[in-house]
C-alpha cells in the first residue's frame, strides 16, 4: 500500500507543520508569555565600582564597564537603536488615585519619565513608560519585549549629556503582581533605568492589557 504510506507520511509532515505553527502562535502574542531572553533579571552587582558584565550580540564588546552615576538633569529624548526607538520624553506624575500618569494616547511616540524618581543617569532606578499601541498604531515601546541583555538605551538629557544604559534583563509580569517597589523604589547605589510598557493579552472587559513588560538596564556610559 505505497499510496497509503505516502498519504500517511504527508499527514505526518502536515501535522508536524501544524503543530509547529500552532505552537508558535500559542507562544506568540504581545508578551503573552516570557519571550526569549525575558527571564527574570538577575540583580546586577550592587557595587558602584565598575563591574565587568558580558555584552550581547548588540554590544559585541566582550566586557562592559558600568559608569558612575551622573548629576540630576531631566530627560529630553530616548533612543533604542535595536528596536528603532527615537522619541521625546515627557514627565509623568501621579493621578488623584495614586496611579501613575501615562503619556497621552494621542501621541503614540511619546515616552514619559516618572518625575518623582531619579532622572536617567542619577543614582537609583529611573522609570520611563511608553505605550505598546495607541490609536491603531504601534507605539513607542511596541517592540520593547524584543530587547535582550546588553542592548543599549540612550537617554539625552536637558543638560546635553547622554546617559547610555545596557539592558540587564527583561521581565513580563501580570499587572496584578506588578513589582512597583522594585521598579520605582529599589534601593540601589548605581544608576539604573526601567522601561515599562504593556504586554500579554488584551482584556476587552477591563480595556487593558493583562501584563507589563519591563526592561531593566544599568548605566554604562555618561557623556
Amino acid at each position: 500500500m505505497p499510496g497509503d504510506t505516502s498519504a500517511s507520511a504527508g499527514r505526518r509532515v502536515l501535522g508536524a507543520a501544524a503543530g509547529v505553527l500552532l505552537g508558535g502562535l500559542l507562544l506568540g502574542g504581545c508578551g503573552g508569555g516570557n519571550t526569549a531572553g525575558s527571564a527574570p533579571p538577575t540583580a546586577p552587582g550592587s557595587s558602584s565600582a565598575p563591574v565587568p558584565a558580558r555584552a550581547s550580540a548588540s554590544a559585541p564588546a566582550a566586557q562592559v564597564t558600568y559608569a558612575q552615576p551622573m548629576g540630576r538633569s531631566l530627560p529630553k529624548s530616548i533612543r533604542i537603536p535595536k528596536i528603532g526607538v527615537s522619541a521625546p520624553v515627557s514627565q509623568l506624575g501621579l493621578k488623584a488615585d495614586g496611579t501613575i500618569q501615562e503619556p497621552p494616547l494621542s501621541r503614540p511616540n511619546l515616552a514619559g519619565w516618572y518625575e518623582q524618581g531619579p532622572t536617567p543617569g542619577e543614582e537609583g532606578p529611573s522609570v520611563v513608560l511608553g505605550h505598546v499601541d495607541a490609536n491603531k498604531r504601534a507605539a513607542v515601546f511596541f517592540k520593547l519585549k524584543e530587547l535582550k541583555k546588553g542592548d543599549r538605551i540612550e537617554v539625552t538629557r536637558q543638560d546635553g549629556s547622554v546617559a547610555t544604559f545596557a539592558v540587564q534583563g527583561m521581565e513580563d509580569v501580570p499587572k496584578k503582581s506588578f513589582p512597583g517597589e522594585k521598579v520605582y523604589a529599589e534601593d540601589l547605589d548605581y544608576a539604573a533605568l526601567r522601561l515599562v510598557t504593556c504586554g500579554g493579552a488584551f482584556d476587552a472587559g477591563t480595556g487593558h492589557y493583562v501584563n507589563n513588560t519591563i526592561a531593566y538596564a544599568r548605566l554604562v556610559d555618561a557623556t
Binding site: 504527508g10 502562535l25 504581545c30 496611579t99 516618572y114 510598557t197 488584551f202 487593558h208
Partner: protein, 290 residues
Amino acid sequence: MRAVRLAATGAAAGAATAVTALGMAGPALAAPEPAPAVPAVKVAPNPFKPGASLTVKISACDTAPAGGAGQVFTAAPKFRGNAGELWTAVAATKPSLTPGHSYKAAFTCKVGETTHKLTLTVNPSKEPGVKPAPQKFSFGYDDVELSTRKVIPGKSMTFTITCPTAVTITGNGFTTKALAVKTVRTGVFKAVGMFRSGTLPNPTVATVACKGHGYVKYSTKPGEAIKPGKKSPQIPAGAPNTGDGSLSLHHEDGGSMTPALVGGGSAGALAVVGGGLVLLRRRGAGREQS
C-alpha cells in the same frame, strides 16, 4: 504520534465544518425537531443601588414580555426585541428598596401557544460595584521617629515607625545588620539599634523600609547628628496601563485579545494548515478515482 493526532484533529474539524455547510445549503436531514426554547430572564447590574436603572433581558419569547412594576420598578418595564429572540428593557428601580432584602417582579410571555411566567429576583445593596478607594499612604520621614539624633558608639537608637505593612531596618553601624522589629500596634512598629563600639563607618547609614511603600535613609558622619539622606520616591499604585489594545484582534475564547500582527499570522498559519488538508484530501480523492 503527536503530528498524526494533530492532522487527524484538523481533518475532523474540517469535515464537521463541511457537513454544517452542506446542511445549510440543502434540505434538512430527517432529524428530530428541536424542543422549543424556554424563556429565561437576566438582569444587570445585580446587586444595585436603590433607584438605579436595571437592564432586563428575556430570551426566547415569541411575544413581548409583559408584567407590572412588581416590588422592584417604578413603572412596568417596556421591552423591545424580536419574536423568538432577545427582549430588552431598561427600567428604574424604586429608591425606597432596602439594601439586604430581596425583591421580585414577574413577567409573562408566550412561546407558541404556551404562556410562560418568569420571576425576577433582585438584591439592592448600599454601594454596588463601588470598591473602596485604595488607601493612599506615602512613606516618608514623617513616619519615622528617632529617639535621638546622636550616633554614639556603644549606644542605642530607638526607631518608631508608622507603616501599614511591614518594616525592615538595616544599617552599617549597628551590632547586627538588620534590627529586630516589634509590632507595637497595627501599623506601628518599634526597633532598637545598638551601635557598635569603637570607630563607626563614615558615613554611618540606616535604612528604614516600609514594605510596598519604599524607604527612607539616614546618614551621619563622625561627630555630626544623623540626618535624612536618600528617600525613595512615592510608589505609584497599581500597574501602568500603557496601551489601548487597538492593535489587538478579538478572540472569542473568553474575550482575550492578542495583537493584530499575531492575529494576522494566526490567520495565515491556519490558512496554510487548512490548505494543506484540502490538498491532502484532493490527493486522496484523486487516487480513489484513478
